[in-house]
């Protein structure tokens, strides 16, 4: 593992911030277990829990916490300078951070989604959600990593994307769905295990191609931005 990835992971897990990752997955599993225990039909709880909570909230919010945590907080605190003053290709720094962010987000979101999917329908559905979550975690992480370099308020911008763009506009303005990672995840998971619970609004090619564009485009742009990273003096 590269030193940058090591420091990044230590920084992520060495702080209290990491505890913020726990409640959402626990809530997701808890809801599914309760519904299952009380024999509520999955037709009634499956969609709201899997899509409404899991894919619309848990996956993007966890990716946001992790994605801004690996880079945004280092930029904010100024510790990024210690990594930037090394003869490392900016590509390697971004890739190491993306690897940690996507990996942690994917595991944290995919495990509860698998449990919920298996309880709601089948193991196959659970695995489909895992694949969707991994693809989504990579795309979200690339996006939030980039936001950390574009703005001093990456969390705010990320929340706006999740809540306003995907949550609000995605529901009423069909055109915005083409740029909604949530929709790609739904489409990909539905293609792998069609259940009727997921209702993909974009086609499979669009979902796959756009996920790749988000992941690649975000990464390349972030590498370029990091190459021109400027530090302003305290007084200026």
């Amino acid at each position: 593992m590269s030193t940058v990835a090591y420091i990044t992971a230590r920084g992520l897990f060495g702080r209290r911030r990491v505890l913020m990752l726990l409640p959402l997955p626990l809530l997701l599993i808890g809801l599914a277990v309760i519904c299952k225990a009380y024999d509520v039909s999955p037709d009634q709880w499956g969609q709201p829990v899997v899509v409404g909570l899991g894919l619309a909230v848990v996956l993007p919010v966890i990716s946001l916490i992790v994605g801004t945590g690996v880079l945004g907080s280092e930029v904010d605190e100024g510790t990024i300078v210690h990594i930037l003053t090394k003869p490392l290709a900016r590509r390697d720094i971004i890739l190491a951070k993306l690897l940690v962010a996507a990996g942690v987000s994917a595991v944290t979101a995919a495990v509860p989604l698998f449990v919920v999917g298996a309880l709601a329908n089948s193991v196959r559905f659970g695995l489909a959600l895992v694949v969707g979550a991994v693809a989504g975690a990579i795309a979200y992480s690339a996006l939030f990593l980039l936001l950390s370099l574009l703005s001093r308020r990456p969390v705010l911008l990320g929340l706006a994307y999740i809540l306003v763009w995907e949550g609000l506009l995605g529901r009423f303005v069909s055109g915005t769905r083409v740029l909604s990672i949530e929709q790609y995840v739904i489409t990909i998971a539905d293609k792998i295990a069609p259940t009727g619970m997921l209702d993909g609004k974009v086609s499979v090619p669009v979902a796959v191609v756009m996920s790749v564009i988000f992941a690649l485009g975000g990464t390349i742009y972030a590498i370029n931005r990091l190459g021109s990273f400027s530090v302003a003096g305290e007084t200026s």
Binding site: R10, G11, R15, G78, T85, K86, A89, S228
Partner: protein, 303 residues
């Protein structure tokens, strides 16, 4: 041996000019970057360190540009003013991580050497988050020295250090300078610069006001009378003899000697011994009393 060069460098933020057409060359040795707060010292340092693009002109280290060129960090070390460190790491882990990112052949040995150099070995296994300001500063210096860079840039390195640590840091920088490293440190505290280095680059309001040995800079300010403290076996008689000299523009007789104002440094210092000899007066003390960096600096600010 590495040379840092700024050629006609300007940097502006919108309408505000932070650095205005500065050219300078840093040679091996210790150089002080001096200027009042807000003069543009940090902007200059950041451009040298590749953290800011010059709006105009070029900043190079051994002819390679510093901007968008991570390769220069093999020859460059930076101790930034902002003291953010990865507080969750121990000093040893932090310096070791820097050594590994520098891709050194033996990172562990380099880490031990760097920590020894700043006298941090006894606290190396404590988390940096628990350190005092001075210890944190020394750890950061160790981290930027771990790859033994030819060029070391330090922004206000003595901030937060106690007097003993200050002396130790000065010795360290001296040693590195004598070994042929190119060291530039910024400071607004004149005593620090005076003790550490004769060479200064003075920045005032974004412009390079002076550059070189500050004692020579003072001597070049011919429009200002040079002030000397003189003590002799007969001060009053010496004063009478001196006042007839063209290079002397004023004399004050004080209890502990004379304060002589000379308009020309060279001719006064040549003429004084001759006069003393002629008059049979013994000179006990001759001291240029306004050649301190402080007076040079205040003259530059007034100019």
């Amino acid at each position: 041996m590495s040379v840092v060069q700024l050629e006609n460098v300007s940097r502006w933020y919108g309408n505000v000019v932070a650095v205005n057409d500065i050219s300078m060359t840093l040679q091996p040795g210790v150089t002080g970057l001096l200027g009042p707060n807000g003069a543009g010292k940090t902007t200059v340092l950041h451009m040298m360190a590749g953290f800011l693009a010059p709006s105009k002109g070029t900043v190079t280290i051994d002819n390679s540009p510093t901007w968008r060129n991570p390769g220069i960090y093999r020859t460059l070390g930076l101790v930034a003013e902002r003291e953010a460190v990865h507080g969750f790491l121990t000093a040893y882990e932090f310096v070791l991580a820097c050594a590994k990112m520098q891709k050194l052949p033996d990172p562990a040995a380099a880490t031990r050497r760097a920590l020894e150099m700043v006298e941090m070995t006894s606290a190396q296994d404590r988390r940096i988050g628990t350190f005092s300001k001075g210890m944190r500063q020394r750890t950061r210096v160790a981290a930027s020295l771990v790859h033994e860079p030819q060029v070391l840039l330090l922004d206000e390195p003595f901030n937060g250090m106690d007097p003993r640590q200050r002396v130790h840091m000065m010795e360290l920088l001296h040693k590195l300078g004598d070994e042929g490293h190119t060291i530039l440190f910024s400071s607004h505290i004149l005593e620090e610069v005076e003790q550490l280095s004769g060479l200064v680059q003075v920045i005032v309001a974004g412009r390079l006001a002076a550059s070189g040995d500050y004692r020579r800079i003072r001597r070049l300010m011919t429009n200002r009378p040079h002030v000397f403290a003189v003590q002799s076996s007969d001060d009053r008689r010496l004063a009478i003899a001196l006042i007839g000299e063209k290079s002397v523009s004023g004399i004050e007789v004080e209890a502990d000697g004379l304060t002589v104002r000379a308009s020309d440094y060279g001719s006064f210092t040549r003429v004084l011994p001759r006069i003393a000899l002629d008059q049979g007066i013994r000179l006990r003390k001759l001291l240029p009393s306004d050649e301190s960096l402080e007076s040079v600096f205040s003259y530059l600010l007034e100019a």
